[in-house]
């Protein structure tokens, strides 16, 4: 919709919308993002298979790498910034994070209790 009148706040950029930058800087941004993303991916694969690090730390490392990967995507590809033109996007992200936190956290909590109280029949037998 081209002639829609927008908010008084003026220009609020959608994810993927570009500000007025030169093509050069834009390409540079994407290349940096790509390199970082590839680096993080490669590291994850490497860590998963290696025995150079202390084994129990591997899952933690993978989680950290995954979160970093999400951060890279958000910043370099979806252009989430803290600027005033990005309020909607940041709020949407915050809402999303809250919901993910509630649902994932709640599920882990609920399922732990359920599994403790309600094991399958054969495991009840085994306990006795």
């Amino acid at each position: 919709m081209s002639d829609q009148t927008h908010m008084p706040a003026g220009h609020d950029l959608a994810p993927g919308d570009e500000e007025q930058h030169s093509v050069g800087t834009r390409i540079l941004g994407y290349v940096v993002g790509l390199v970082l993303a590839l680096l993080l991916t490669a590291t994850s694969f490497f860590i998963a298979g290696t025995d150079l690090v202390w084994q129990p730390s591997i899952p933690v490392a993978l989680i950290v790498l995954a979160i970093a990967q999400m951060g890279v995507h958000l910043v370099f590809f979806l252009h989430i910034t803290t600027g005033p033109d990005n309020t909607n996007n940041v709020l949407a992200l915050a809402f999303g994070l809250l919901v993910v936190f509630l649902v994932v956290g709640g599920t882990v909590w609920i399922m732990a209790h359920l599994n403790a109280n309600m094991p399958p029949m054969d495991q009840i037998m085994m306990r006795q």
Binding site: M1, S2, D3, Q4, T5, H6, M7, P8, D12, A14, N88, F95, G96, L98, V99, L102, V103, G106, T107, W109, I110, M111, H113, L114, N115, A116, N117, M118, P120
Partner: protein
């Protein structure tokens, strides 16, 4: 070649679905032939099927919902009759058939009646209330509608080809797993919901973006009509919750199709996880439905009391609080599964907390009415009826949120009564209020008030006669979904409930008659003002029905109740003042993308259900190709020249001016 499909899929031995299916098929064919013979096909294709106009799409959503309401209602009548007669006998519906009916009833009523009805109303009204010309993604909007229609079509197809799920409307495993449900019923269920779920998600994204990004000059957040706020909240919930449903059903389908073990009893699967996930979607879902209804009541109560909404800001706050808290209570649907006292207590308390913002809303509506000059037109009747009914439903909800009480009442008829109480008394009453209220806006003539009021009273009374007995039967220990029973004490209540169903049916008939009568008398009921109810928000500032572009000039909003202020301050002047220069308006072109895409999705869904793999590929490729073609389109907008805008707008202005001068003379 045809996978699992052969002649045994047609239930020749079951006369009821076969005859019903045949009658519907003949009716559809007759309508189609009539359309083609009368030469209406090009009109339908260009003006409706390929339309990307939010108003048209909204109307089609509501039409879909109304048709499916009749289907779901027929299921309800059959179940009530069965339970009235099946005391110490098998009744007239064999168990496998009865089980399909209650499953189809729930699925249809939630996904293909309540959802399309509220989404339709939001589509129709929200852009008008925001003072803009369209939604954010017009073509996507059409895709969303047609995918919803695909889901509805597949569910109805199961009536005559194969069978529907016998698992209840949420298909809990292990019953819905391959070992206990080897037939295609659960597949019909799951694929219909997967496809229509994509449609719902798309609609949600579209409406969230519309509210956040497309508002007219001066329409800042705290000037938006309440319905826009509840639309925002409800669609945020759609965007957040529907992916959970999709993922859960995808896992169930992987179990069924590829031998995975997410929710099986063996190989490390966990059926309790399904309960947990489906309700993590399921509870937000009930608020997705009821929040828009709250918005409708807010609009209606304030208009028909002739007052601004009382406590607007507290209403906004309550809406957003419900939006967040509704993600913190889902465990109340499985207190009895055994998570233990700590978990149950926390979720029980969280559930009761939801009643607080809901209560705030009820008081706000009451205070809006207090001291107002109330007009009891049909939309207002539905709203007041809602307040009475919904309070009872909310109270029984709070009762069920007390874990020890729930251990007694879970999955009893009391629960059935609770959720019908909130869904009929809340969502459906809201949908009807919105229908009566905005019908003149959509079509340019009012609905007949006498039949409308009769419809309300029969529905209202019928509701109580049907569902109060279910509360009582529940307290007498009757569980839900019983095909037959041997307890004498339940029998009388089942008979009363069946009688109530008859009263409800009369209510529905009244509303159908109302529609027919109103269409016939449309000249007498014509609304030339565009503002038949003395409304307060911007949808009433344009003509009825509005032109494609909604507003010749995007209105300039100076406060809450935008249109009310325009009328109060400068009605005469603003209408008579010469308009600034008219300008060309660009509008999105119509597009068959939605229809074609849904066509292929239907093929793909059907093929997936019957394991016809070549057809799955065909349908998938078709749907994908449709998107590619759409993405490569050259021009997606057309221009309405300024002269044409001017001509349309002047007619409208002329109309209003003469009315005002008539009113002035009188």
């Amino acid at each position: 070649m045809l996978g699992k499909l052969d002649w045994s899929a047609i239930p020749f031995d079951q006369p009821i679905p076969l005859i019903a299916g045949a009658v519907v098929l003949i009716a559809i064919l007759a309508v189609l032939i009539w359309v083609v013979v009368k030469g209406h096909l090009p009109y339908l294709w260009h003006e409706w099927i390929t339309s990307v106009d939010h108003k048209r799409i909204g109307v089609m959503y509501i039409l879909l919902a109304s048709v499916m309401l009749l289907r779901g209602g027929s299921d309800a009548i059959m179940m009530r009759i069965q339970q009235a007669v099946a005391y110490q006998s098998q009744g007239y519906l064999p168990p496998e058939h009865y089980n399909q009916i209650f499953s189809a009833h729930g699925t249809i009523m939630i996904f293909f009646v309540a959802m399309p009805f509220v989404i339709g109303l939001m589509n129709l009204v929200v852009p008008l209330q925001l003072g803009v010309r369209d939604v954010a993604f017009p073509t996507l909007n059409s895709v969303g509608f047609w995918l919803t229609a695909t889901g509805a079509l597949l569910v109805n197809l199961s009536l005559v080809i194969g069978e529907f799920a016998r698992t209840g409307w949420l298909a809990f495993p292990p019953l819905s797993g391959l070992s206990y449900s080897p037939g295609v019923g659960v597949d019909y269920y799951a694929w219909s919901l997967q496809i229509s779920g994509v449609g719902t998600l798309v609609a949600g994204i579209n409406l969230v973006t519309t509210v956040l990004k497309l508002r007219t000059k001066g329409m800042n957040y705290l000037r938006m009509p309440m319905f826009c706020w509840t639309t925002l909240a409800s669609n945020l919930l759609i965007v957040a919750a529907f992916p959970i449903l999709t993922a859960t059903l995808a896992m169930l389908l992987l179990d069924r199709y590829l031998g995975f073990h997410f929710f099986t009893n063996e190989a490390g699967g966990n059926v309790m996880m399904f309960m947990n996930l489906i309700w993590a979607w399921g509870h937000p879902e009930v608020y997705i439905l009821v929040l828009p209804a709250f918005g409708i009541f807010s609009e209606v109560v304030s208009t028909f009391s002739g007052k601004a909404l009382f406590g607007y800001r507290s209403m906004v706050l309550a809406t957003m609080a419900i939006c967040v808290v509704s993600f913190m209570v889902w465990l109340h649907h499985f207190f009895t599964m055994g998570a233990g006292p700590d978990v149950n207590a926390i979720f029980g308390i969280a559930s009761m907390i939801i009643a607080i913002p809901t209560g705030v809303k009820i008081y706000n509506w009451l205070f809006t009415m207090y001291g107002g000059r109330i007009r009891f037109a049909t939309p207002m009747l539905w709203s007041v009826g809602f307040m009475v009914t919904f309070i009872i439903g909310g109270l029984t909800g709070v009762l069920l949120a007390v874990p020890p009480a729930d251990f007694m009442l879970h999955n009893s008829m009391f629960l059935v009564a609770h959720f019908h109480n909130v869904i009929i008394g809340g969502v459906l009453f809201g949908a009807f209020a919105g229908f009566e209220y905005w019908f003149p806006k959509a079509f340019g003539f009012r609905l007949d008030e006498r039949w409308g009021k009769a419809g309300f009273w029969f529905t209202f009374l019928g509701f109580f006669i049907t569902f109060i007995p279910l509360y009582i039967a529940g307290m007498l220990g009757m569980t839900r979904r019983m095909q037959h029973y041997d307890v004498a004490a339940w029998r009388p209540w089942m008979i009363v409930a069946a009688a109530g169903m008859a009263v409800l049916t009369i209510g529905v008939i009244c509303q159908i008659v109302q529609l027919v009568v109103s269409i016939r008398n449309r000249e007498a009921l014509r609304d030339r003002t565009g503002d038949p109810w003395d409304g307060r928000s911007l949808e009433w500032a344009t003509s009825s029905p509005p032109p494609v572009f909604n507003f010749a000039f995007n209105p300039d909003v100076r406060g809450e109740d935008a249109y009310w202020h325009m009328k109060a301050h400068a009605q005469q002047q603003s209408l008579e003042r010469d308009r600034p220069e008219y300008q060309d308006i660009e509008m999105p072109r119509n597009s068959p993308t939605g229809f074609v895409c849904a066509f292929f999705a239907t093929i793909m869904g059907f093929a997936l259900i019957w394991h016809i793999w070549w057809m799955v590929i065909l349908g998938g490729l078709g749907a994908w190709a449709t998107f590619v073609v759409f993405a490569w389109r050259d021009h997606d907008e057309y221009v309405i020249p300024a002269e044409e805008v001017a001509a349309i707008d002047r007619v409208n202005l002329e109309e209003r001016r003469s009315l005002i001068s008539m009113a002035g003379a009188a």
